[in-house]
């Protein structure tokens, strides 16, 4: 429950009284023999900014095209607002899509591109110019209304595409890799702009992306997909801090993965035997993993500390040698080769200028981490 005075947390997925806007129920999609979507079940709630994240070919685009109506599921049902949309053609759905290529109509001006959908909606004719004006203001392109798409820049085209897909005030907006064609700086600005517009309009956004940073930035929840299945659905921080599998841990961010076997356990605390002659790693994990189970120990590089002396306050300390240093400006990543050849990455914030020069190549160092810094993953 939200405390009085606190901002109420937006988390309809934790509220059983809320009805999802979109429900995928055991949806399978096959192209010939190829299974693009494999018995997938998923709920997406109104006003969410939902990200479908995965490598190319994982089925995320197919999932989106089924929502838009360009593909139909081979089996299973998709409900939008409680209604089965399988038989509804794309032009009759309260769903609009922003295409990866933007798909702006080259023969129409910016204003006419935005008006295109409105002219085919029940909206009275005299109200259309005002709505177009409003959309142009939303994406800050008022002075470009009469330009043709090839007369504006890539970033502006992207905003026209967004305005066009939002003009009909759809229940659901689909964004297919919307920022793929923009350069890094513009992409970052646009991400915040997207979030802003999503909040202003209150539209449900579903975004498809292969860029995990983008998904982390914009989304309220992320579904990590692989081979037509959803591996994990959660908020960005949960996905990052509590990945449910090696696949998710590895796909999102940077991670050290150490293969081992469960040794002694005490409730949710485990010791992991990972190498002959090395002390077992002590780590937390879900309760009830049987001893001797094969597992991975996963830890993010920024949670690994590095020092010349053996730290006394950390339960896990391993000795190694610095192999590589990647200086990234704000942080430095140290690649430390442990005694048995495993490489562990440790990341340190460079919060003092040209400090930390005491650590250099070939130094023998200690890497250390607390018991709760890492995770035991059995999948």
């Amino acid at each position: 429950m939200a405390q009085p005075g606190n901002k109420p947390v937006f988390a309809p997925w934790n509220d059983p009284s809320k009805k999802p806007l979109i429900q995928f129920k055991n949806v399978t999609k096959k192209f010939g023999e190829f299974v693009a979507i494999d018995n997938l079940t998923l709920d997406i709630y109104a006003k969410e900014f939902f990200a479908l994240l995965g490598p190319s070919g994982c089925g995320k685009t197919t999932l989106m095209r089924m929502l838009a109506g360009f593909e139909n599921p081979t089996s299973g049902t998709i409900l939008l607002d409680g209604q089965d949309i399988a038989k509804v053609p794309p032009n009759k759905r309260a769903v609009n899509m922003m295409f990866q290529s933007y798909a702006l109509f080259p023969h129409l001006s910016v204003a006419n591109n935005i008006a295109f959908g409105l002219k085919r909606s029940p909206m009275p004719k005299q109200e259309i110019p005002a709505r177009v004006e409003e959309m142009l203001r939303l994406v800050r392109l008022e002075q470009f209304a009469n330009r043709k798409p090839h007369q504006i820049s890539g970033g502006q085209r992207q905003r026209v595409a967004l305005a066009r897909s939002l003009a009909k005030a759809p229940k659901l907006l689909l964004l297919d890799e919307p920022l793929g064609a923009l350069d890094a700086k513009l992409r970052e600005d646009t991400q915040f702009e997207l979030m802003d517009i999503q909040e202003k309009t209150g539209t449900t956004f579903v975004i498809v992306t292969h860029d995990q940073e983008e998904a982390m930035t914009v989304a309220s929840r992320i579904a990590v997909m692989d081979h037509g299945q959803i591996i994990q659905v959660d908020t960005p921080d949960k996905i990052y801090e509590y990945p449910n599998s090696v696949y998710v841990a590895d796909f999102i961010g940077d991670v050290n993965l150490v293969k081992g076997r469960i040794g002694a356990s005490d409730g949710e605390k485990y010791s992991i035997n990972w190498a002959e002659g090395q002390p077992a790693i002590k780590a937390a994990g879900p309760a009830g993993i049987a001893p001797d189970t094969e597992c991975h120990f996963a830890i993010r590089p920024e949670k690994v500390a590095i020092a010349m002396e053996k730290p006394t306050d950390k339960p896990n300390a391993l000795q190694g040698r610095i192999l590589d240093i990647a200086y990234l400006g704000n942080v430095s990543t140290y690649h430390v080769e442990l005694d048995n050849g495993i490489i562990m990455k440790a990341q340190m914030a460079n919060n003092r200028r040209i400090s930390r020069r005491d650590l250099t190549w070939d130094d023998h160092v200690w890497v250390s981490f607390t018991e709760t810094a890492g995770l035991v993953l059995v999948k």
Binding site: M97, A103, H150
Partner: protein, 272 residues
């Protein structure tokens, strides 16, 4: 990249262009010949152009040709575009490969055979031969050219434009009319032009499909040439050459200008 002028290049260029254009140049020069004998130069005159205007047989043949070309190229443009659209966009259906192969068959079919088969068809269904049958025949063989031109444009056409139109509330037909057609219009128009020229200079198929009531200009020219080349025909040919030249130059200027304009616009957009 600039290359140096060499005598070899100049000679090659001259010979090549002479090979292509010398016959036409001679024809044009002799169309202004005073003499009735085609091969003897007797001074400059435009009298054959004047006489041509008086020659009803040629004028009516020219009118028939223009009518046939306009009608058949329009039908060919419509049918060819439809065929191209289905073959490129229709997805997979039974015999699609067979159909797309068959649409190109008339391109390589000898004209005599096309003409003969059409003649047999017209006779067997009892169709009176005249302008209408020439239009049918020309539509038949010109539509495959149109469909080749249009389908090569459709292949490079971003399919998401059509999907965007559907997504924004268009019925599939509306999407075709308001998005696909305006974008592929240049291909349809050049297909139409191609069909028009093909129809304009076709002799073989027209000879088979035409009845006594309709004679096209190429048929008329061919039959008069058999009686001897007259300066009038030279004049007529010169007019046709100039019409075609003006058309080709205009078309290329228009397309060059629109491409240049587009490039400048894109440069300007990038600078902002």
């Amino acid at each position: 990249m600039s290359r140096k002028f060499t005598w070899f290049n100049a000679t090659a260029l001259t010979l090549g262009f002479a090979f292509l254009y010398l016959p036409m140049v001679i024809l044009i020069i002799y169309s202004f010949n005073e003499s009735k004998l085609v091969t003897v130069w007797a001074g400059f005159s435009t009298k054959w152009y004047g006489e041509l205007m008086q020659n009803d047989a040629f004028l009516s043949a020219a009118l028939v040709t223009l009518k046939v070309a306009a009608l058949s190229s329009t039908f060919a443009a419509i049918l060819g575009t439809m065929a191209a659209y289905v073959l490129v966009r229709g997805g997979r259906f039974m015999g699609r490969t067979l159909f797309s192969g068959m649409i190109y068959a008339p391109l390589v079919m000898p004209e005599v055979i096309t003409g003969l088969s059409l003649l047999l068809l017209f006779i067997s269904i009892g169709l009176d031969r005249g302008i209408f049958t020439i239009v049918l025949a020309h539509t038949t063989f010109a539509m495959c050219y149109v469909s080749v031109v249009v389908s090569s444009r459709l292949v490079t056409f971003d399919k998401s434009l059509e999907e965007a139109a559907l997504d924004l509330g268009c019925s599939p037909f509306d999407a075709f009319i308001s998005v696909t057609l305006p974008i592929i219009a240049p291909a349809v128009i050049s297909g139409w032009l191609l069909a028009f020229t093909l129809s304009l200079d076709d002799l073989v198929i027209a000879s088979f499909a035409a009845g006594p009531s309709a004679t096209t200009l190429p048929m008329k020219i061919f039959s008069s040439v058999r009686l001897g080349v007259s300066p009038e025909i030279n004049a007529l040919s010169t007019i046709m050459i100039s019409i075609v030249t003006v058309g080709v130059i205009t078309a290329s200027l228009i397309s060059k200008r629109s491409i240049g304009q587009r490039e400048r616009d894109e440069q300007a957009a990038l600078k902002q």
